[in-house]
């Protein structure tokens, strides 16, 4: 069928605009480059095994406290979040160290406090067949103590294309205890 020249002109413009709009729409919904680098998230639950690429973590307990102590006489006041977990390497110890252990609250990222001392600080190599129980103690801004937090664990500081074990914590649902203990790292029973 043939349109009059003016109609054809208008139709061409309309078609062009529709295509540009469609192109914009396609670009808007296309994920960015970093989408291809996303980590493989493993959702952890308290009391259950969470399996990452070469490690197995079992979350044991999450506590909020206003006063913490370690086993060697150190203590501190403040807003603290303690996460006790058991960690074991699976398959091989090569590539099974826990270098990424952080608590994310909103835009902020907290790292386990070094104040608890080197024997209580969760760190380093996980062992095959020999699970260890350790506690990560995070000292947080009291303003963040009633928000939602995510605990993120993994092998490397860079979590692209690797497993990431994540635990959702609703800090508002936890009651702060007056005193909590940060035990030394020890082999699990």
């Amino acid at each position: 069928m043939s349109l009059s020249p003016r109609r054809a002109h208008a139709a061409a413009w309309a078609g062009g605009i529709v295509l540009v709009a469609a192109a914009w729409g396609v670009m808007a919904i296309t994920p960015g480059d970093e989408f291809a680098d996303q980590p493989f998230v493993v959702d952890a639950q308290i009391g259950e095994h969470a399996q990452a690429r070469q490690m197995q973590i079992t979350m044991l307990e999450v506590q909020k406290a206003t006063h913490v102590e370690n086993e060697h006489g150190w203590y501190a006041d403040g807003a603290w979040v303690l996460v006790a977990f058991e960690g074991e390497a699976r398959g091989t110890e090569d590539g099974s160290s826990l270098s990424r252990l952080r608590l994310r609250i909103g835009d902020r990222e907290y790292l386990p406090s070094e104040r608890v001392g080197s024997r209580a600080h969760p760190d380093g190599q996980l062992r095959v067949g020999l699970p260890e129980t350790m506690t990560a103690a995070f000292e947080i801004d009291p303003d963040d103590a009633e928000k939602r937090a995510v605990l993120d664990l993994g092998h490397l500081k860079d979590d692209r294309l690797d497993s990431a074990i994540r635990l959702d914590i609703d800090l508002a649902a936890l009651d702060a205890v007056d005193s909590a203990k940060v035990p030394d790292r020890r082999w699990s029973e």
């Binding site: 960015g32 902020r108 070094e114 104040r115 000292e139 801004d141």
Partner: protein
């Protein structure tokens, strides 16, 4: 012939009628060279108008902000304030061990660091990269470098990491020759800032803190000499 005239008349009418067609004729008549020269002149004129042709300014020395003890200065990452400067024979747990045979003592500057960013910051990076104390020697008697060390005042944790949103009272310490500084001397301290550079609207690269740090503030602290030491300094 009959055909030519209406055509000519038509052309005249057409050229007189629209500016567009006049432009077309004019454009054909103007030499190309004139157009390029005119365009270049316009472009340069516009550039000069907003200062693009002026000399690049030499890195201007920004005057340093003068602080008093207790004043808070924001470095972009940390908010810092300093309170005291103290000379002491030794301060165990501070990270600085003076060489007695070399005639060293410990210079302590106390202050508060508040982390204004969203990620933990090591106090040692600030102490060694952004804090300069005038008059300190380069090397110690045994050849080691004279470097700052940090420790928390409350529990003596060495090289503390300041978590986001938190404030920590810190003791900054340096090993100094015993005869270098005396009570009532003025200790000149310079604080340098880091700038956050964010190219995100140009590229996918994440932002980062630029180095080297730029000196931004200074203060003078009057040195106290506490001799062999005050008991409550040795915390934890």
């Amino acid at each position: 012939m009959n055909d030519a005239k209406p055509a000519a008349a038509e052309t005249d009418a057409a050229t007189r009628r629209t500016p567009a067609s006049w432009m077309r004729v004019a454009a054909k008549a103007v030499p190309a060279k004139w157009v390029t020269v005119a365009g270049l002149t316009l472009f340069l004129g516009a550039t000069a108008a907003f200062g693009g042709l002026a000399d690049a300014p030499a890195a201007a020395e920004k005057p340093l902000a003068r602080l008093e003890p207790g004043d808070v200065h924001g470095t972009g990452q940390l908010e810092v304030s300093f309170t005291r400067a103290v000379l002491i024979d030794e301060l165990p747990g501070s990270g600085t061990t003076p060489l007695f045979e070399g005639g060293e003592r410990v210079l302590v500057v106390t202050g508060t660091l508040h982390n204004a960013t969203d990620a933990p910051l090591p106090s040692l990076s600030f102490a060694r990269g952004q804090l300069v104390v005038d008059g300190l020697p380069e090397k110690r008697p045994d050849g080691g470098a004279v470097e700052a060390s940090t420790a928390r005042l409350d529990d003596a944790t060495l090289h503390p990491v300041i978590q986001p949103g938190l404030s920590v009272e810190v003791a900054f310490t340096w090993p100094v020759p015993a005869d270098l500084l005396h009570a009532d001397d003025e200790l000149h301290v310079t604080i340098a800032d880091l700038t956050w550079f964010d190219p995100s609207w140009l590229s996918d690269q994440p932002g980062y803190w630029t180095t080297p740090a730029v000196p931004a503030a200074e203060l003078d602290l009057v040195i106290e000499d506490v001799g062999a030491g005050v008991e409550e300094e040795q915390a934890g």
